[in-house]
């Protein structure tokens, strides 16, 4: 039932978009003509097409997919490539066909999300001339000594625990109550636990006595936890009620509920509480009235990965197998928009250097 409501909402959203979309469509036209617009200047990406394949949600999700979209837009203007973008059916049943069609007309296919992993292996076998990159999956054959599946398959992953460590440290430095919270979207499949582990470790590095309250909205395979702003709001209000004054979320679209709760709690109790965003710089994606409650965001730079892999492809440096985007290449990080963490940046930078140098090893399991 919930799903069909979501469908309905999506439909309404589409109508709303359609009504106001003239700007939108001209943008996509630009995309296909990007190569010609650069005039006389020859660019390295002229004539190269990249097939960006989103996961469900596509461009405009203000999170993961949008970050990839930002990367491809930058690659377009920096290198002069053209690109085609596509997303699967809502039930995710046509990933394989999408990849195949993309491969027909692209030199590089970037698939956003680990659910593409298996279909990429099949498509890469049929299209030896096309390079494939999957975001969030290592794309290694672990049964045979962790070798790449094929010469034209790369896996781009992120050291989420390192970025989470830094925002955990920021939370501990800023907390007045000595209690902080963590809201995970979906537990039980390993990915979100990485965020929790890093966050807790970062907080404890600052204050060994800090209390961290973790809670997950749903357990896999129920992925509604990434779309349940109402439940995130309830959980956040409970945590604030338990004396937490800063809550970090790794819950996709549910984060909106956390931001709302931070505002509500601050207004009703009179003492300011904070929220920490995830994936993109959420200070810039939320509405203005909740901006002032976003302390910082843990940045997962999918855009960096997209630009880098495009760059590597254009320069003939495409590397099969796993590339981890960690602090050392700014693949993860924290945001400073709003200026709320400006006073603790030196401490955070110090932690960052210690992690890069290997003096601090951030755990990946709580």
């Amino acid at each position: 039932m919930k799903r069909s409501w979501r469908n309905l909402l999506m439909l309404l959203a589409v109508f709303a978009l359609a009504a106001a979309a003239c700007g939108d469509s001209s943008e996509s036209n630009d995309a296909s003509e990007g190569g010609d617009d650069s005039g006389g200047e020859a660019m390295i990406g002229d004539g190269v097409n990249v097939g960006l394949t989103f996961d469900i949600g596509g461009r405009g999700d203000q999170s993961f997919n949008d970050s990839a979209a930002e990367g491809i837009d930058r690659a377009e203007s920096d290198f002069g490539i053209s690109f085609t973008e596509a997303e699967p059916n809502e039930d995710g049943s046509n990933r394989a066909e999408l990849l195949q069609l993309q491969a027909d007309q692209s030199d590089l296919v970037v698939a956003v999300g680990f659910l593409f992993a298996e279909d990429v292996r099949a498509a890469a076998g049929d299209n030896a001339d096309t390079n494939f990159a999957v975001i969030d999956d290592a794309m290694l054959d672990f049964d045979n000594g962790a070798v790449p599946w094929a010469d034209n398959i790369a896996g781009l992953t992120f050291a989420e625990e390192q970025g989470s460590f830094l925002v955990g440290a920021a939370a501990a430095l800023k907390s007045e109550t000595g209690t902080i919270g963590f809201i995970g979207g979906v537990g039980g499949f390993g990915l979100i636990e990485k965020f929790e582990a890093g966050y807790t470790a970062g907080a404890q590095a600052v204050n060994p006595d800090i209390v961290v309250i973790p809670q997950y909205i749903t357990q896999a395979p129920d992925f509604d936890g990434f779309f349940a702003a109402d439940r995130a709001r309830e959980i956040a209000l409970t945590m604030y009620g338990q004396d937490a004054d800063i809550i970090y979320h790794a819950a996709g679209g549910s984060g909106a509920g956390l931001f709302e709760a931070a505002k509500e709690q601050s207004e009703s109790s009179g003492s300011k509480v904070w929220a920490i965003g995830v994936d993109s710089d959420q200070f810039n994606t939320v509405s203005e009235d909740v901006q002032e409650f976003i302390l910082t965001s843990m940045l997962k730079r999918v855009d960096v990965a997209v630009v880098e892999v495009t760059d590597a492809h254009l320069n003939g440096n495409f590397e099969a197998g796993n590339t981890v985007y960690d602090l050392s290449v700014d693949g993860v990080g924290y945001s400073t928009s709003g200026g709320f963490v400006d006073d603790i940046v030196p401490q955070l930078e110090e932690f960052k250097e210690q992690i890069i140098a290997g003096d601090i090893v951030v755990p990946t399991e709580p």
């Binding site: 039932m1 799903r3 069909s4 469908n7 999506m10 439909l11 589409v14 109508f15 978009l17 359609a18 009504a19 979309a21 003239c22 939108d24 469509s25 001209s26 996509s28 036209n29 296909s32 097939g51 596509g58 085609t84 973008e85 596509a86 997303e87 699967p88 059916n89 809502e90 039930d91 995710g92 049943s93 046509n94 990933r95 394989a96 066909e97 999408l98 195949q100 069609l101 993309q102 007309q105 680990f114 659910l115 992993a117 298996e118 099949a122 049929d126 969030d136 999956d137 672990f142 039980g188 499949f189 390993g190 990915l191 749903t218 357990q219 896999a220 395979p221 129920d222 992925f223 509604d224």
Partner: protein
Amino acid sequence: MTNPLVRRIGLALAAPALAAVFAVVVSAIVLELSGSNSIDTFGTILSNGFQLETFVDTLNRATPLFLAGVAAAIGFRMNLFNIGVEGQYILAAFAAAVVGAELNRFALPGFLHTLAIVATAMFVGAVWAGLSGLLKVTRGINEVISTIMLNFVATGGIVAALLPKVITDPTAPNQGTETIAERAWLPDLNGVAEVVTREIGRGRELTGVFLIAVVVAIAYHVGVNRTVFGFDLRSSGMNPFAAFAGGVQPKKMVFLSMVLSGVVAGLVGMPEILSDNHAYDQGFVQGLGFGGIAIALLGRNSALGMTFAALLFGFLDSSSAVLQVQASASAEIVRIMQATFLLAAVVAFEFVNRIRQRDEVARASAATETPNGPTPSIEGASA
């Protein structure tokens, strides 16, 4: 005066035709508003639609949609709203994947392995749907509520709690059950199809579950229209009191039709388990149960109607990829077409039904008209 037969056939075709025109017009408007060329877009849909590989895609997608439609329709036929096909098929597929993986360790012939998987799915689907039936006949709990609740219990509760216990590799991003041994996979039907077509390319495989769907279609049609059970089912749906007076036990019918609905629902996930992925993981196709409700509505609960509805939705689904990649239209256009088809069909069927009723009244009054007497009153017509 038109030939009544021609008129009847014309009316039967009018509703879907009206719906199609309406859906195309609405989609064209949305396309133009969003800055795409609607003619080009429909051209892409059509030219893609005439490729053999698209036929295969369409059939592959129509197969589970049709099965879900039948599962919903069995309930609809007797005014039972089984909203729980979603939870029933997901739970059934999960159980079937687990049993299938466990059986990897035993030496047994492939067809027994397959049979055990299918039987598990049908059994679990039946139990889960039967639970709602039982709640209704023993406690009078509305099946709409219980099936919705059991959807959550199935996906958010049982599968969520058990999946971590059966995953093979806890470090893999996409965790799922162990892949079922190849001996249990259903062979694809490419060889059969290629007797009449050219070779099917691009790695497409026509799922063997398609045959199961054909069997279900025939069984459903015959069962509903030609058996005592089917008669009881339909009469309970049309008028439960009259059926009761005629000796039909309503409680038994409610329970049995829920169980049957669940049996068919159990088959919905089989293309994924037996043909496509051979495991239950996070990419498992969801939403087919709700799709099935749309198919049953669009196909008016008839085997033939649902076949067309499933093929239509399957075709539109398989157009989504090519629309985005080649015509740079958004994926949502396919959703809009499906939704407007559904909406338009409901309205058009009602409209055509009215015309049909008026025809019938006119015919009845013509038949009762005596050649030389005065025209009998047609009060009945206005009632």
